[in-house]
C-alpha cells in the first residue's frame, strides 16, 4: 500500500526515473529490515536449540522404560471401532513445513483407518490444518503449549482431558521426530488401553502385584508419550525454524545485493540522463 502510494506521488511529479529510484530504495530498506528480523530469529532459535535438545534427550530416556515394557509384553493391537489420533505440534509458524508434515501424516493415517478416527490436536497450527479437511473428527484441541520445552504438569493436564473423552483401546500419538539438525520425520507412538495390556502375550514375563497396575500404566504411558512427543516436536520445530530463518536471511542477503546493484545503476542512469539534458541544453545555446 505504502509503496504504491509513494510511487503515485512520485509519478505525479512527472519524474519517471526518480520514482523507480525511490521505489527501489524503499524496497531495499524493507528487505534490510526483514533480514535483520530473520537473522535475530535465527540466533534466538540456535540458542534455544541446545536447551530443546537436552530436554528431548531427557524425555527419551524417560520414555525408554515404557518402550521396553511394550517391546517385551508385545500387546496385540486390538480391533477397535475407533482409533484416537493425538497430533502433536505447536502454535507458532515460521518454521518450514513442520506443521504441515505432521498434519499430512495424520490425514494419511486417517485414510488408512478408513476414517474411523477421532482426532485430538495439540497446537493451533495443526488444528487449523486439520479442521479444513477433518473438521468433524477433531474432538479436542489444545493450544498455548509448546512455547518451551514441555513439563509434566502441563502434559498430565492434557492427558487428563483426553481421558475424559472416553475409552479408546487404540491410541496413536503423531509427532515430528527429531532426526538431526536438518531433518525431522513424522512418527507415531502406538499405545493400547489397559485391557490390551492385560491380554498381552508377553505380560507373563512381568509380575504385576496389584490389579490396577495395567490401568495406571496405560494412563502413565499416555502422559509419557505426549511428553516425549512434545519434547521431540519442540526440538524439531526449533531446528526447523533455525534452518528456515537461515534460508530466509540468505535469500534476503541475495535480494539486498541485487537490489543495491539495481539501485546504484538506476541512480547512475538518472545522473547520466540529467547530464545529457544539461549538456544538450547548453550546447543548443551555442
Amino acid at each position: 500500500m505504502f509503496r504504491l502510494g509513494a510511487a503515485q506521488v512520485a509519478r505525479a511529479q512527472g519524474a519517471r526515473n526518480y520514482a523507480t529510484l525511490r521505489e527501489i530504495e524503499m524496497r531495499l530498506k524493507s528487505i534490510k529490515n526483514i533480514e535483520k528480523i530473520t537473522n535475530t530469529m535465527k540466533i534466538v532459535a540456535s540458542t534455544r536449540l541446545n536447551k530443546a535438545q537436552r530436554a528431548m534427550a531427557a524425555s527419551r530416556v524417560f520414555n525408554e522404560s515404557d518402550a521396553e515394557f511394550y517391546a517385551n509384553a508385545e500387546p496385540e493391537t486390538p480391533e477397535a471401532d475407533k482409533t484416537l489420533l493425538i497430533v502433536v505440534s505447536s502454535d507458532k509458524g515460521l518454521c518450514g513445513s513442520i506443521h504441515s508434515q505432521v498434519a499430512k501424516a495424520a490425514r494419511r493415517r486417517s485414510e488408512e483407518l478408513k476414517g474411523a478416527v477421532d482426532i485430538v490436536t495439540i497446537g493451533d497450527k495443526v488444528k487449523q490444518q486439520l479442521l479444513r479437511t477433518h473438521g468433524d473428527k477433531v474432538k479436542l484441541a489444545f493450544n498455548g503449549v509448546g512455547k518451551e520445552a514441555p513439563n509434566f504438569y502441563e502434559v498430565s493436564l492434557i492427558a487428563d482431558e483426553i481421558n475424559k473423552l472416553g475409552k479408546y483401546e487404540n491410541t496413536e500419538v503423531l509427532y515430528n521426530k527429531f532426526v538431526s539438525g536438518v531433518a525431522f520425520e513424522p512418527t507415531t507412538f502406538g499405545l493400547v488401553g489397559a485391557e490390551a495390556i492385560e491380554k498381552a502375550p508377553g505380560l507373563s514375563k512381568y509380575e504385576l502385584e496389584s490389579e490396577d497396575t495395567s490401568e495406571v500404566f496405560a494412563e502413565f504411558s499416555l502422559a509419557n508419550s505426549i511428553l516425549t512427543a512434545q519434547a521431540e516436536g519442540y526440538a524439531s520445530e526449533i531446528s526447523a525454524r533455525r534452518n528456515a530463518m537461515d534460508n530466509a536471511s540468505k535469500n534476503a542477503g541475495d535480494m539486498i545485493n541485487s537490489y543495491s546493484i539495481l539501485y546504484n545503476r538506476t541512480r547512475q542512469a538518472v545522473i547520466t540522463n540529467e547530464l545529457v539534458d544539461i549538456i544538450t541544453g547548453a550546447s543548443s545555446l551555442d
Binding site: 530436554a55 534427550a57 531427557a58 524425555s59 530416556v61 524417560f62 525408554e64 522404560s65 515404557d66 521396553e68 515394557f69 517385551n72 520445552a149 514441555p150 513439563n151 509434566f152 502434559v155 507373563s204 514375563k205 512381568y206 509380575e207 504385576l208 502385584e209 496389584s210 497396575t213 495406571v216 500404566f217 502413565f220 509419557n224 511428553l227
Partner: protein, 161 residues
C-alpha cells in the same frame, strides 16, 4: 532364589506362588543396571548398582540383581540407591512407575526426585497446614487435590531434615 526376590514387606503368601514365574530373569551380567529418569533430567542411565530400595504402593521393595521382572507403581517416599561401593544415595520421589525389565535392568520413571537435604522442613510444615485447610473445603475436586498433596507432604515430612 531368596536373594533374587528379597522383599522387605511381609507380602510373602501371595508372592511365593508367583515366584515360579521368575524364569525370564536370566541375564548376561550380574549387576543390576539402574536407569532413573525424570521428565526433564536423567539421574542414572544404566549405571550398575548393588541394590535399590523403592517405595511402591504395595509396600517397600528391595531390588537386587536378577530380580523377577515386575511393574510397580511408586508412592511418595524415599528411594534408596546402594552403589557398588556400598554408599547409599537417597532421593525423595513423588510418584511414578518402576519396571524391572528382563535382562537385569531396573528403569524408574519418576515425576520428581530430590535429595532429602534439598527440602526445607519448615516449608513442608507450612504447605501441610495449607493443604489441610483446603482438605476441609466443600468442593470435591479441591478436597481430592488437597488429599493427594497431603499424602506427598506427609511422606516428605518424615524425610525432610
Amino acid at each position: 532364589m531368596f536373594r533374587q526376590a528379597f522383599r522387605q514387606v511381609a507380602k510373602q503368601s501371595s508372592t511365593v506362588v508367583r515366584r515360579t514365574y521368575a524364569t525370564e530373569a536370566s541375564s548376561t551380567s550380574d549387576a543390576l543396571k539402574l536407569s532413573l529418569a525424570l521428565p526433564h533430567e536423567t539421574l542414572f542411565s544404566e549405571s550398575e548398582v548393588e541394590q535399590v530400595n523403592l517405595p511402591s504402593v504395595n509396600g517397600d521393595l528391595g531390588i537386587l540383581a536378577n530380580h523377577i521382572p515386575i511393574v510397580e507403581q511408586l508412592r511418595p517416599g524415599l528411594l534408596e540407591i546402594i552403589s557398588k561401593g556400598g554408599e547409599t544415595e537417597q532421593y525423595f520421589v513423588s510418584g511414578g512407575i518402576a519396571t524391572v525389565q528382563p535382562g537385569n535392568k531396573l528403569t524408574i520413571s519418576a515425576i520428581e526426585a530430590f535429595k532429602p537435604e534439598q527440602f526445607d522442613a519448615a516449608a513442608v510444615k507450612n504447605l501441610i497446614a495449607d493443604a489441610q485447610k483446603r482438605a476441609a473445603s466443600s468442593d470435591e475436586v479441591v478436597v481430592a487435590e488437597a488429599n493427594i498433596e497431603l499424602e506427598v507432604l506427609e511422606a516428605l515430612q518424615g524425610v525432610a531434615k
